[in-house]
């Protein structure tokens, strides 16, 4: 098959650009440990209220022994529960989400935190929030007539402030 010399050059440039992007992503993955979320874990969405992890009194923030924080939330039409959370900045956060009804999505604007929450599965995403402030937590997967009103709040404060709030016991009661 004859390919014109000029076409070869154009194809080479296009492939070179694609190769550059892939190389940067691979370098991030191999040398900086940046990977796409890949947790696969099932759960019975009809029995969340009876589960050991997502019963109502287990939701919210949990401090781990290594200093990281696990956040457990339930998404259901039309809200994320607990409705209000206070989280520490510059701390490794593991978000664990489940849906009690239909497919939802969760997105925290101005961060990279975004994932789909599929009934029957636990959506887990790890991240670090660098900037303190108030963030809305929005559903970005159409889930019904009230989808546009499905949101909650996250307040990110400095780690020292968060420790003080948690010592007082008033930080994460939703």
């Amino acid at each position: 098959m004859h390919i014109d010399q000029l076409e070869k050059k154009w194809a080479g440039i296009a492939l070179g650009i694609a190769g550059l992007f892939v190389s940067v992503i691979l370098a991030s993955s191999f040398f900086h440990g940046i990977h796409a979320p890949s947790n696969v874990e099932t759960i019975d969405s009809a029995k969340l209220h009876l589960s050991a992890e997502f019963a109502e009194d287990k939701l919210g923030v949990e401090r781990n022994a290594d200093g990281s924080v696990t956040v457990r939330m339930v998404a259901g039409r039309y809200g994320f529960y607990p409705k209000n959370l206070t989280l520490p900045a510059e701390t490794e956060l593991t978000f664990r989400w489940v849906s009690l009804d239909v497919i939802h999505g969760v997105h925290i604007p101005m961060t990279n935190m975004s994932t789909m929450i599929v009934p029957g599965y636990v959506a887990q995403v790890k991240t670090i929030l660098h900037h303190a402030g108030d963030y809305p937590l929005l559903c970005n997967e159409y889930c019904g007539m009230g989808h546009a009103h499905m949101w909650s709040n996250i307040k990110v404060v400095s780690k020292a402030q968060w420790e003080a709030l948690n010592t007082q016991g008033g930080a994460n009661h939703g």
């Binding site: 000029l6 650009i17 940046i34 990977h35 979320p37 990279n112 995403v125």
Partner: protein
């Protein structure tokens, strides 16, 4: 109708497409710059997810 002579026409056909290369350079350079800016300037500073 083109007013080019056969000689001029052949000269254009056989010469390097400078305008195309310039356009290609600008577009691809802009795309690479924008991509790197989004990746290193926006995505990574916001805290990667995993």
């Amino acid at each position: 109708m083109s007013n080019l002579s056969e000689e001029e026409r052949q000269k254009i056909l056989n010469s390097s497409p400078v305008g195309t290369w310039a356009l290609m350079l600008i577009v691809s350079g802009g795309m690479v710059f924008a991509w790197l800016l989004m990746y290193y300037g926006v995505f990574l500073p916001r805290g990667h997810i995993g």
